[in-house]
């Protein structure tokens, strides 16, 4: 038997040559297009490279601390470090418990921490202590992962830990003084009472089981209690973590605070508004529609100006209401209206048969909503919700116009106010854009991964 000799495919249809032929040079028109686009790209790349080399990066090099935390006092920076290390440790735990996208993020954060800690570049103020903090954030990812593996925690506990960490972190960044006990007591009861009103109102209208609402309330009060009393009372007596006025928060820190608080607050409000809009109770529905349409009909800039310029005219002379709080308030209002419409879209997409099926199984209205409708509704609109989060994150840069110095505000101040950096606008803008891109891309990536794992679009 003579075996048929193996005939290889022609060399022009495989490998790099094959790929080039198929994708770039398949017809005379494509050849022409490839040449033109290739030339233009090369010209642009050369010009860009030339500019990058000659660019003046000294505003970023000399003021990196300003870009990251603004005017936050240098001697208190350990608190920011502690919050970051706590967050990275939780990322490690989440990696152990959830895997998936958290694994990717935790690895990237750990690697980034290591690289920054060992980088030979030395911006102003980047001393050994700062390097150790970066190293610590990388180490805490590993530590968190080990703890998460060893303790075999349930996902529920991880969520609770993140929620508690959010409050503790904000409290630590803000700090305490001897006057803060009174104000924290007021805040404790204010936050607790507001929570009670919202939950009781929602429970009453939505006919939720009282036991569930009471359990939520107990949890909410407990968290607020721990944060305000234990920390404010204990730490308020010491000089350990003195109050840092929010007017000194800035840079990426402020951008993050505005975005995270805005996201955390606007999501539940958005869910409630969406449910309210679909409610059969006319007053509730009317109020929800009025709020959503009013807020959506106004640009965010206007809302920010309203809270910053108009509100003081109604306050007594001399009182001053926290500027960052006002900005958070405006951003949350704005975002929750859009969130409500996104979620309403999801609610409308849940087939009626699901609700009828739930009823047939004997589930109550509350249980149907919580276990049948909302999970499917939210799953359907993850891309829209994350899109809203991303635009909220970028919208935070608008606070520049009301005098808060987020990362963009710091950059603008530096090149506008220092004569030697008058020409460095492009460098500053490019740096800020790169920072924004990293975080928005991470959010988009997370959204894609969560969609994949939930099978959105495939089932």
């Amino acid at each position: 038997m003579v075996g048929t000799p193996e005939v290889l495919p022609p060399s022009t249809s495989v490998g790099i040559v094959g790929w080039l032929k198929a994708n770039l040079l398949s017809s005379p028109v494509n050849v022409a297009l490839t040449v033109v686009v290739g030339t233009l790209t090369a010209i642009a790349a050369v010009a860009m490279a030339r500019w990058l080399v000659s660019a003046d990066w000294s505003p970023i090099h000399e003021s990196l601390k300003l870009f990251l935390v603004g005017q936050y006092p240098s001697e208190e920076l350990w608190r920011i470090g502690a919050v970051v290390v706590g967050a990275t440790a939780l990322m490690g735990v989440s990696w152990a418990v959830w895997g998936g996208v958290m694994r990717t993020f935790a690895r990237i954060v750990a690697a980034a921490g290591l690289i920054v800690a060992l980088t030979p570049i030395e911006p102003a103020g980047f001393d050994l202590a700062v390097r150790l903090w970066y190293l610590g954030s990388a180490a805490s990812v590993a530590l968190g992962f080990a703890v998460g593996r060893a303790a075999s925690l349930g996902p529920k506990w991880v969520i609770r830990a993140w929620a508690l960490a959010f409050f503790l972190g904000m409290a630590l960044i803000w700090g305490f003084d001897e006057r803060s006990l009174g104000s924290s007591l007021r805040m404790l009861f204010g936050a607790g009472a507001t929570l009670t009103v919202v939950l009781a109102g929602a429970g009453w209208v939505g006919r939720f089981p009282l036991a569930v609402v009471l359990r939520w309330l107990a949890w909410g009060w407990a968290v607020v209690f721990v944060v305000t009393i234990v920390m404010a009372w204990g730490l308020g007596q010491t000089d350990l973590a003195p109050r840092v006025n929010t007017s000194r928060w800035g840079g990426l820190l402020l951008t993050f605070v505005l975005a995270i608080v805005g996201i955390v607050a606007s999501f539940p409000i958005g869910v409630l508004l969406a449910l309210g809009r679909r409610s059969r109770l006319p007053v509730l529905k009317g109020l929800s529609v009025a709020f959503i349409e009013l807020v959506r009909g106004v640009p965010l800039v206007t809302l920010l100006f309203m809270t910053v310029v108009i509100v003081p005219l109604f306050l007594p002379q001399g009182t001053s209401f926290d500027l960052v709080l006002r900005a958070v308030f405006a951003i949350t209002l704005f975002s929750s209206a859009y969130m409500a419409e996104n979620i309403r879209g999801g609610l409308a997409a849940v087939p009626l048969g699901q609700i009828e099926g739930a009823k047939a199984l004997g589930l109550g209205g509350f249980q149907t909503m919580l276990f049948i409708v909302l999970p499917q509704a939210l799953r359907a609109v993850i891309p829209a919700i994350v899109g809203q989060f991303i635009s909220l994150f970028k919208d935070t840069s608008l606070v520049v116009i009301v005098g808060l110095l987020d990362i963009l505000g710091i950059g603008k101040s530096l090149f506008l106010g220092n004569v030697r950096w008058f020409g460095a606008q492009a460098e500053v803008y490019l740096f800020v854009a790169a920072v924004f891109w990293v975080f928005t891309f991470a959010m988009a990536y997370a959204s894609r991964k969560v969609e994949e794992s939930l099978g959105v679009g495939s089932r």
Binding site: L66, T196, A200, L315, Q317, V402, G403, L416, N418, G423
Partner: protein, 350 residues
């Protein structure tokens, strides 16, 4: 079931009552606020509406400290009250917010490069004392052959958008029958870029800002600022309407700065000057007699703290705009003391 429906309203009423009680408590706290000086003392710092992005007047140094001519005037007031020039909170605000912010009384002093005009005085607040005489001017390339603003017929001007800059420019050219093309930019740094790239023949802005732009170039000598000044921009710290003691206090602190330069009292020699044999100096520094400190609610020797903290008027000026200033060099001219032929003049401290 019946019982459950009843409990929700109960919960609601309870929580609402807590909120109402809290609101009442808050009200009590605010009621203690009396004069602005008391409010400031109780708060522990002075809130200044300033800038963080204007070369020379209000900006951030590389470490993030608020610095600048305007900011130092605010620091002087803080030093007078607390003995500590760092007891300030600088609130950066935009040009359009200046009016509402000072009207609302949210800030204690507005030192944000603000021009004193009659309308603003009537509407916004009380203007204390002119601390800087600025005015709109023109900058051209040294080799352009222009020596006077009246030569500028048919040129293109880069101008910062603003309430008055564009208007002054249009008025001047129309008044003198000259034609002009304008390109408008948002801020000084953009005018700098456009003028540098040759997009316009002249740059126009307040003269202090032209000096800033000029010193940003590699070769400042290639550019010159024309002698004409086409507008009056008297820059003045403003306080809210309605508190005369506070108004007088801020005015007096400004007068101390000017008088100190007049008498030769500086940051370096203020301690030894307390025992000077000049009566006026001893009075100013609180060593003898008085000039109204008690009525203003200030310590007798507050001037020592002020001068130790920021120096006299000339020292503040030179720190930012002097020959080796942090920002740029601008000859004092109108901002010289009256003794030296300038316009800076303050009532006597007695």
């Amino acid at each position: 079931m019946r019982q459950m429906k009843l409990r929700y309203p109960l919960l609601l009423v309870l929580a609402t009552m807590v909120i109402a009680v809290l609101a009442a408590c808050n009200g009590d706290d605010d009621a203690t606020a009396g004069s602005r000086l008391d409010t400031v003392k109780e708060r522990g710092n002075l809130i200044i509406a300033g800038r963080t992005d204007l070369a020379g007047f209000g900006f951030l140094d590389a470490s993030g400290k608020n610095v600048g001519f305007d900011i130092d005037l605010g620091r002087a007031v803080a030093a007078a009250i607390f003995g500590d020039p760092n007891a300030i909170e600088v609130r950066p605000i935009s040009a359009s917010e200046r009016g509402p912010t000072i009207q609302g009384g949210e800030v204690d002093v507005l030192t944000r490069n603000v021009t004193w005009t009659s309308t603003r005085d009537a509407q916004w607040g009380n203007y204390t004392t002119i601390m800087f005489y600025d005015g709109q001017g023109f900058m051209v390339r040294a080799d352009s052959g222009f020596d006077s603003a009246f030569d500028l017929d048919g040129t293109t001007a880069c101008v910062t958008s603003g309430t008055t800059t564009e208007l002054n420019l249009a008025d001047f050219f129309r008044q003198n029958g000259l034609s002009l093309e304008t390109v408008v930019f948002e801020d000084t740094a953009s005018v700098y870029g456009a003028y540098e790239s040759g997009r316009c023949d002249i740059a126009t802005s307040d003269k202090s800002q032209l000096a800033a732009i000029r010193s940003g170039f590699a070769n400042p000598g290639d550019h010159k600022i024309l002698p004409e000044t086409i507008s009056k921009e008297p820059l003045t710290p403003v306080v809210p309407h309605g508190d005369d003691q506070w108004f007088d206090l801020v005015k007096t602190v400004m007068w101390v700065l000017i008088n100190a330069e007049e008498m030769g009292v500086t940051q370096a020699n203020v301690d030894s000057m307390v025992s000077s044999d000049n009566i006026a100096i001893r009075r100013m520094l609180g060593a003898e007699g008085e000039f109204g400190q008690a009525d203003l609610g200030l310590d007798a020797d507050f001037a020592v703290d002020v001068i130790k903290a920021v120096g006299n008027y000339g020292e503040i000026y030179d720190r930012y705009m002097g020959p080796n200033g942090m920002s740029f060099e601008l000859p004092r001219q109108s901002n010289e003391l009256w003794l030296n032929g300038g316009l800076i003049y303050a009532p006597p401290l007695k």
